[in-house]
């Protein structure tokens, strides 16, 4: 029925198979929409957040998806900005994943902004951040950059949408798409600039909290160390997340969509960035433990109380930090498909844990000695919005995969046989 929309030279499953797949994710989106409407209509009392947990699941989710969406800007930066000049041999492997990275980035940022729209108590006043901007606030910088960067991602996404077979038949759209494609390097550079700042500012948001010794960090000029650590961790996790998404797509569709060399390259980039990050994170933790912590009259163990105990620290830095770094930088390990994916998954988990720790643990720890240690668990409405965002992401990615030439190597890697096609189509 929708054959005319499917890209040339590739095979997709029938609409009968595709429809139930979409229904599943639409159901999650419906859960998210009901939750969002309840929160907007009845207020944030629908959540389990309180005066202690001013931030909750949504901020953890936002920070995580923004970090994971970093694959878009970083791959774009490597491909279009420094690729030809410095790493010409890698450009082809990067071009094989850039479209998918852009779509993933768009999904991550658009869902993060949508969630923030529900998270703030007065969504109608969201524009006050721009109108009454406080230039000293890290959150202002984050808001400016992610809004502008979402526009950049939209501009990067448009040529991919315009390359749809049917849309391409309209000359105006085809020309516009081509023109956009020619200046994509400019947007990739703008995207990289904006992303460096908002990824950093997200870390800066916590690092400047001098009233919260768990999060507070010293730094360089106005930027606390968390500013730089968040940039590094985002660009370390982004390529891993892009790789995971493509790998899952390959498993679901039963096709090889990019060459193995692209995975190897993404893993190598991720691995070395993660290694640098983990080394700096360990140095940062030690200097914090011997600087900020005793100056606040506290000891390291004061910050680790159940359920947010020392296990969380070991999990974040040790298990999901050092181990994936070793897996991803060792050629012998990353040559094995299983280890490669485990390494990428652990890397992503570690970065999500880091965002969780900075958001939830910071707020859980009482600063006044006579205050209470609090714990928090989200309500179904909070889960609903997070799950809805996930559903939206999978739905948009599925649609993009089905109707757009997302993977330039797909035709070459999956030639359509005249008879006896062995590939399982999706």
């Amino acid at each position: 029925m929708d054959l005319a929309l499917i890209p040339n030279g590739v095979r997709r499953c029938s609409l009968k198979t595709f429809a139930p797949w979409m229904l599943l994710w639409l159901a999650l989106i419906a859960w998210g929409l009901v939750s969002a409407l309840l929160c907007l209509y009845k207020g944030l009392n629908q959540t389990n957040m309180n005066h202690y947990f001013a931030f909750g699941l949504w901020i953890v989710f936002d920070l995580s998806v923004i970090a994971l969406g970093a694959g878009a800007f970083f791959t774009g930066f490597l491909t279009h900005v420094i690729g030809k000049a410095f790493i010409p041999s890698c450009v082809e492997d990067l071009k094989a994943v850039i479209n998918a990275a852009v779509v993933i980035g768009f999904i991550c940022y658009s869902s993060a902004i949508a969630m923030l729209g529900v998270d703030i108590g007065q969504p109608i006043r969201g524009w006050f951040i721009f109108w009454h901007a406080n230039v000293h606030s890290m959150l202002t910088e984050v808001s400016f950059c992610i809004t502008v960067y979402l526009s950049v991602l939209t501009i990067e996404y448009l040529p991919i949408i315009f390359s749809n077979r049917k849309l391409k038949e309209i000359p105006e759209i085809d020309i516009f798409g081509n023109n956009l494609h020619h200046i994509v390097a400019l947007f990739a550079a703008a995207g990289a600039f904006l992303s460096f700042f908002h990824q950093g500012s997200l870390g800066g948001m916590y690092g400047v909290l001098f009233g919260r010794p768990f999060a507070f960090r010293e730094g360089l000029f106005i930027w606390p160390w968390t500013f730089f650590l968040f940039i590094l961790s985002a660009i370390a996790a982004g390529p891993s997340f892009t790789m995971l998404c493509i790998w899952i797509t390959q498993k679901v569709t039963g096709k090889e969509l990019v060459k193995r060399s692209s995975f190897a390259l993404l893993a190598k980039i991720s691995g070395w960035l993660l290694t640098t990050y983990i080394i700096l994170k360990i140095i940062d933790t030690i200097s914090w433990a011997y600087g900020v912590v005793p100056r606040a009259g506290l000891s390291f163990m004061d910050f680790y109380r159940e359920p947010y105990g020392l296990w969380l620290f070991i999990a974040e830095i040790g298990i999901f930090g050092i181990i994936p770094a070793i897996i991803l930088i060792t050629p012998r390990f990353r040559e094995k498909d299983g280890l490669l994916i485990i390494g990428a998954l652990m890397n992503v988990t570690g970065i999500v844990l880091n965002r969780f720790v900075f958001t939830i643990q910071t707020l859980a720890i009482p600063v006044m000695p006579f205050d209470k240690f609090m714990t928090y668990f989200p309500t179904w409405q909070e889960w609903g919005i997070a799950v809805g965002a996930l559903g939206y992401g999978i739905l948009l990615f599925s649609l993009s995969y089905r109707y757009l030439p997302l993977f330039p190597q797909e035709v070459e890697l999956n030639p359509i046989a005249v008879s006896g096609n062995t590939a399982k189509d999706f």
Partner: protein
């Protein structure tokens, strides 16, 4: 900072005598009724009710008969280096250079709650619910203070409207300066044991400026550098020890005093 002082600004602050405080809660009630603080459908939910001035009960942790308790009333600390002000993305909270009072503009607050995450004193409350008042109570609302809408953060303002009222009166009488007790917040006025002293911390003529020089006076979480303008006073070292986090052996009695338990 010096510029602001030389421009004739005041530095309003208070000293709360914890040895006098009985924990009666009148300050909290006076504050709530003065400032139109909304009443939650379930006020037992202490993590979500609106409370500008919370009274914490602390004990020395010893068993009977050596048990001692004390109460620590906690309004907004009106920090001179407020952690909440620089973080607000919409400039909805600011420190007035003339009074050094930290303000909150409810109609500008977008409800992101970043200021709450920044404040180590939990002095800020978010309106999780629509404001409501028990039947009949709405007739006693103060016309001087705007009630807050759902989805915004609110906090103690040192009853700033009282300052405006006192200033207007002084101006109408041709005066530029306020007398010592011409402007006091509702909690100070309500306290039956006069445990709270309020005034200009920089004015040598005001009682607070003398009180803060006492070795018995301290501030909460001084080590963090927030520079609170709410001071506390006690002669008991176990209470004083609760003012800040200290490593073992770090806590010292001021001016070589002997600890009084």
């Amino acid at each position: 900072m010096k510029k602001e002082n030389s421009a004739g600004g005041t530095k309003y602050g208070m000293v709360i005598d914890l040895d006098k405080c009985t924990g009666c809660g009148v300050c909290t009630v006076a504050c709530a009724s003065e400032n139109n603080v909304s009443v939650l459908y379930d006020e037992s939910d202490k993590t979500r009710n609106i409370n500008w001035l919370q009274v914490y009960m602390v004990t020395n942790g010893k068993k009977f008969p050596e048990t001692q308790i004390a109460y620590i009333p906690r309004p907004c600390m009106q920090c001179d280096n407020p952690p909440c002000v620089p973080v607000c993305p919409a400039t909805a909270t600011d420190r007035d250079p003339n009074t050094r009072i930290v303000s909150q503009i409810y109609t500008r607050c977008i409800g992101c709650r970043y200021c709450m995450a920044a404040c180590p004193y939990h002095a800020r409350s978010f309106n999780w619910f629509d404001p409501s008042f028990p039947e009949g109570m709405d007739r006693y609302l103060s016309p001087e203070v705007s009630p807050r809408m759902r989805g915004v953060v609110e906090k103690c303002t040192f009853c700033h409207h009282r300052f405006m009222r006192a200033k207007a009166k002084a101006f109408s009488e041709g005066r530029r300066e306020l007398e010592e007790n011409e402007y006091i917040p509702a909690c100070v006025e309500g306290c039956p044991v006069k445990a709270i002293t309020f005034g200009d911390l920089d004015n040598p003529g005001h009682k607070v400026s003398k009180l803060i020089k006492s070795p018995d006076v301290f501030r909460l979480l001084k080590k963090l550098g927030t520079e609170p303008k709410v001071y506390y006073s006690t002669g008991k070292s176990w209470i004083r020890r609760m003012a800040d986090n200290s490593l073992e052996g770090e806590f010292k009695q001021p001016n070589g005093q002997k600890p009084r338990e």
